[in-house]
C-alpha cells in the first residue's frame, strides 16, 4: 500500500513526488516507462530552462538532473521501464515491466504526470504517398540528441512551434540544410527569442500563412508542394510551389497523453484535451491529481514544476485526510480572447494565500488590457503590450480577492483599445 503513486517521471512527476515527501509522506512510488527519469527534458539539450526557479539558464538535462538528485537524496522509490496500463477509481495502479511482469498496487492518492504526445501527420491530413523521411520534431530530436542518428540532409519543417524552431537550428549545426520553416497560421507559433536565435541567426526563412499540400516520393521523401493560405485558411489557387527535400519534419502541436484519464471516465476540457482540475490540481475523480503537460501543454518547464508542487502538496493532504471538500466553489471562465484557464474550479477553503490562474490567449494581441472580473465586476486590470497564443500567461490572485465576497464566477477577458 502506497500513500502516493506518481505516474510518469518527467519534471512534473519528479516535482510532485518531492513535494509530497516534503509534506510528510513516506510511502511514495514513481512509475516511469522509460529507462531513466527526466522525461522529455533529456532530449531538450538546448538552454533556456530554469530561469524562474533557479535564476539560471540551464539545459533540459541539467534541469532534470537537479530534480533526479533530489529525489534520490530523499530516498523516494521509483520503478523504471514500467508502463502503467490502467488506473481504477478505487486507486489501484496496474503496470508491467520485463522483470516483475504484471503488477498491481494500491495507493491512497494518485498523481498523473504522463506528459503529452506529438500530433502526427494523420492528425493534420497531408495528402500524398507515405515515404520514409517524415518525422515528428520530437522524434527527430530524440534520434539526433540521444541516439546520434541524423535524420536527413535537405530539410523542410512544417510548423513553427518551439520544437520546430529548436530543431531547425540543431539540424543546421549538424550540417543539414534547413530550406524553410512553414506556418499555417498568420503568426509564428514559437517564442520570439527562438525565432531570432534559431532562424534569423542561421538565415533560415520562415513563411507564415503557408503549409504543405502534398508529399512526393516513393521510398524516401523527394519533395513537398508548398501552398499559401488566405485569411480564412483556404489554399490560394495557383500558389503551389514544389520544393525538393529528403526530409519533412512536423512540428504541428502537442496533446496531453490522456489514454489513462479517458479510461477513468474523467472529465476532460475540450480545449486543453487534458483533465478538468481544481485549485488542488485534483481531477474530477476524487484523490486523483494531475500536473504538467498531461493537464495542458506548457512552454516553460518552471511553470510545470510550480504546478506540480501544488499537486504533490495536495495529494499528500488527501492521503492524510486533510484536504477540504466542502465550502464555496468558484468557477473560472475564459472570456473574450482567452482560450482556457487552469484551474477550472477553486474551492476557496483550500487556498492558503494565493491562487495562480494559468491561461492562453486565442490570438496575437498588442497593447490591450487583461481584465479579471468577479461575478461580472472588475477586480483587476493588467496592461499587456504583447500577448501571444504561444506564451502562457499567469495571473496571481490574492486569497482576499476570493474571500471578500461570495463570488461564484471568476472571468478573465481581453479588452482592446482605451477605457
Amino acid at each position: 500500500m502506497y500513500d502516493v503513486a506518481v505516474i510518469g517521471g518527467g519534471p512534473a512527476g519528479l516535482a510532485a513526488a518531492i513535494e509530497a515527501r516534503r509534506n510528510g509522506i513516506q510511502n511514495i512510488l514513481v512509475i516511469e516507462r522509460d529507462r531513466e527519469l527526466g522525461g522529455i527534458l533529456q532530449q531538450c539539450i538546448h538552454n533556456g530552462f530554469g530561469l524562474h526557479i533557479f535564476k539560471e539558464e540551464l539545459t533540459g538535462p541539467e534541469y532534470a538532473e537537479r530534480f533526479v538528485n533530489e529525489l534520490n537524496e530523499l530516498g523516494i522509490e521509483y520503478k523504471l521501464d514500467s508502463m502503467v496500463l490502467e488506473i481504477t477509481k478505487d486507486k489501484k495502479v496496474h503496470y508491467v515491466n520485463s522483470k516483475d511482469g504484471f503488477v498491481s498496487i494500491q495507493a491512497k492518492s494518485i498523481i498523473l504526470a504522463m506528459g503529452c504526445r506529438e500530433r502526427t501527420r494523420g492528425a493534420i491530413g497531408v495528402a500524398g504517398t507515405r515515404p520514409a523521411g517524415v518525422f515528428t520534431a520530437g522524434t527527430a530530436q530524440r534520434y539526433l540528441n540521444m541516439e546520434g542518428y541524423m535524420v536527413g540532409k535537405k530539410i523542410v519543417i512544417l510548423g513553427s512551434g518551439d520544437i520546430g524552431l529548436i530543431m531547425a537550428r540543431r539540424l543546421t549545426l549538424e550540417g543539414a540544410e534547413v530550406k524553410i520553416v512553414l506556418e499555417r497560421m498568420p503568426y509564428p507559433g514559437g517564442l520570439t527569442r527562438n525565432i531570432v536565435q534559431c532562424l534569423n541567426d542561421y538565415n533560415i526563412p520562415l513563411k507564415v500563412s503557408h503549409t504543405i499540400s502534398s508529399i512526393k516520393g516513393k521510398d524516401r521523401v523527394e519533395g513537398v508542394t508548398i501552398v499559401q493560405l488566405d485569411e480564412s485558411g483556404r489554399i490560394i489557387p495557383g500558389s503551389e510551389q514544389f520544393m525538393e527535400c529528403d526530409t519533412l519534419i512536423l512540428s504541428v502541436g502537442l496533446i496531453p497523453e490522456n489514454e489513462l484519464s479517458e479510461k477513468l471516465e474523467m472529465r476532460l476540457d475540450k480545449v486543453t484535451k487534458g483533465p478538468y482540475v481544481n485549485e488542488a490540481m485534483e481531477t474530477s475523480v476524487s484523490g486523483i491529481f494531475a500536473c504538467g503537460n498531461v493537464v495542458h501543454v506548457h512552454d516553460i518547464v518552471d511553470y510545470v514544476t510550480e504546478e506540480s508542487r501544488i499537486a504533490g502538496r495536495n495529494a499528500a493532504k488527501y492521503a492524510k485526510g486533510e484536504l477540504k471538500t466542502e465550502g464555496r466553489l468558484v468557477e473560472t471562465v475564459p472570456g473574450n480572447g482567452i482560450s482556457y484557464i487552469v484551474p477550472h474550479t477553486i474551492r476557496v477553503n483550500n487556498i492558503e494565500n494565493k491562487v495562480d490562474l494559468l491561461m492562453r490567449v486565442r490570438q496575437v494581441f498588442h497593447d490591450v488590457r487583461m481584465i479579471i472580473k468577479a461575478d461580472g465586476e472588475k477586480i483587476r486590470e493588467i496592461k499587456k503590450s504583447h500577448l501571444l497564443p504561444g506564451e502562457m500567461e499567469r495571473v496571481s490572485l490574492d486569497i482576499k480577492a476570493l474571500t471578500c465576497k461570495n463570488i461564484a464566477k471568476l472571468e478573465v477577458e481581453i479588452c482592446e483599445g482605451e477605457e
Binding site: 539558464e57 540521444m146 541516439e147 531570432v196
Partner: protein, 121 residues
Amino acid sequence: MSCKEIICIVCPMGCHLQVAENPNMEEVYEVAGNKCPRGKVYGINEMVNPTRVLTTTIKIENAPLKRLPVKTNGVVPKDKIFQCMEVINKVKVASPVNMGDVIVSNILNTGVDIVASRSMR
C-alpha cells in the same frame, strides 16, 4: 550613419531595437526601442560582438546512450559557432561522466569550456 533593426532576446518582451551608428558622439552606438537598460547593452553587443551559448552533443562510449549533451559554460562569438562545432565533433568520451565535467577547455582560445550537461554511467 547606418541604422539596424534588432530584436532583443534578453527577455520574452522581444523589443524591436533600432541601433544607429553615430561616429560624432561619444557613444558610438545609439539604441532606441528598448523598454529597459538590458536592451541597450544587448543592442550594442549585437553590433560590436554578437555572442551565443552553444549546445550540442558528442559521442560517448560504454554508455546507455550514443550521445552526451554538452554546452559552452559561457558565451562564444556568434561567428565562431561553426568552428566550435568542428572541434567538438572530433571529441569522443567514455562513461562515466559527471554533469559539469570539462570536455574541451578554452575552446578556440575563447576562454570558454565545453562541459557535460548531464551525468552518464
